[in-house]
Homo-oligomer: 280 residues x 2
């Protein structure tokens, strides 16, 4: 596998992350995962905007994000990924410096690592409906930054798996914020319900796509929190993200939601999403 | 500099952290910093106990922590650090695997990296008293685990520096939890006051040392939270940690604490600590 590392296209096994990389020492870095459908990127510039936001919020001085699409395209070519579905993984850390919480001087060069991944099979199975499990949202208070400080997500995801579910839904102060790596939407009486934007959740790109689709499909969207106890009064529940796209959630904590099958609006949105993808 | 990496003593520049290391991708790892005074370790076994706790809490399957002291000793020798003051840095991550929040299979080998650092000069200047700045404690809810998910600490520390102070003190729900990399103690009417143990703070080894010294010196210790507004009613404030040992805090948010000089009990404890160090 050819990857991009600090200015060069090299074999993945030749990448040498320094033990003084602040990504390794502190998780002092940010990332993005972007879908490539049959060689065509989806929402690349939106992902770059979010990457720029994360970099800015963490004061990581990397200003060449406008070059990343060209680099990602070259990687698709070098790895013969031009005719398959894949994800582009971009990670940028503050760089390499003597270990100190203090930001290093202005001449530090951020570490830039870009690789590709073939889509994992479970992403496809997600489309038929998945099971979710409620987990305590113990994350930090800046979930709007897409950083690699993901330990709370790792723990929560495995807690869900250990409890026989495929995905974890974070609960904070009695409301569902988002999933361990996805946004969460409820459906009630034909309207969507989802947590308002803010520091508690990631500004999901797929959420934005859904919002746009809802305008076209004339589906009202209410930005309000979902109470875990109210999930079983919902008509549908689904999660959204770059990798799983739109995945209906058919059970929560092993209890079926509504009739335990993907709901009408979830399927309607999946179809609209697929149509959108075909058009890129 | 010779370091220890995955079973071998090698030159630091030959260490090659994989971009698939979960430490780099998720901050999925733990660490310890241990003091070496003139070639002699201080509280090594206590640090190893805490390391074992962090590993256990995160379900990282590394069971050879009993070998780390011998390895650290060898590093002191290989680098001619036997007659100077230094710190040993130990980082253990879950290992290298295809990127997924899900824990990899049982055969994954944790990454083990150990290096030495000469003591930074500012650690010595800390002894004359430092300035602190209040920062919002936006960390996750498992601060008792010494993980490398340190982004909140990085941000807070730099916020303190940007505000002309040397150290940040975290405030959560209206009380001081701990410092960005230290424990916090107040002194009032001859008694020490410090945040109770729990998930909000790291189980500091130096805190334990202080507790023991206080028994000998007959100084009462109250485990209760300090309210930021009450800091200026205290007789003294100091922070403790493996690197700064005991450092008096002489100002908070640029306002002097008490008479703006290191207090009697802080100095008394520093002297007792120094005596303890000389005896190891």
């Amino acid at each position: 596998m050819k990857v991009f590392f600090n200015g060069s296209f090299i074999e993945k096994e030749d990448v040498k992350i320094s033990p003084d990389d602040r990504g390794f020492l502190f998780g002092d870095g940010v990332y993005e995962v972007i879908r490539s459908y049959n060689g065509k990127f989806f929402m690349f510039s939106e992902h770059i905007s979010r990457l720029n936001y994360s970099l800015k919020e963490l004061k990581i001085n990397y200003y060449e994000t406008d070059k990343l699409e060209k680099i990602a395209k070259e990687l698709l070519k070098l790895n013969s990924f031009e005719n398959i579905d894949a994800t582009v993984y971009i990670q940028i850390t503050r760089g390499v410096a003597v270990r100190s919480l203090k930001f290093p001087g202005g001449d530090i060069m951020p570490t830039v690592y870009i690789t590709l991944n073939k889509l994992n099979e479970h992403y496809y199975s997600y489309k038929n409906g998945i099971s979710a499990f409620l987990v305590d949202d113990i994350r930090w208070k800046r979930c709007d930054i897409k950083s690699v400080n993901l330990l709370a997500n790792v723990i929560a995801h495995n807690q869900a798996i250990d409890n026989g579910s495929e995905i974890g839904l974070f609960v904070k102060d009695g409301i569902i914020t988002e999933g361990t790596h996805v946004g969460v939407f409820g459906v009630k009486n034909g309207s969507l319900i989802t947590h308002p934007a803010g520091k508690e959740i990631l500004p999901s790109i797929t959420r934005k796509v859904i919002f746009d689709l809802c305008i076209k499909l004339e589906i009202p969207v209410l930005e309000q929190a979902i109470n875990p106890e109210n999930v079983f009064n919902l008509d549908e529940l689904f999660v959204v993200g770059t990798s799983p796209e739109i995945a209906p959630v058919i059970s929560l904590n092993k209890i079926p939601i509504a009739n335990g099958k993907p709901g009408i609006i979830s399927i309607k949105l999946q179809n609209a999403f697929n149509k959108l993808i075909k058009g890129i």
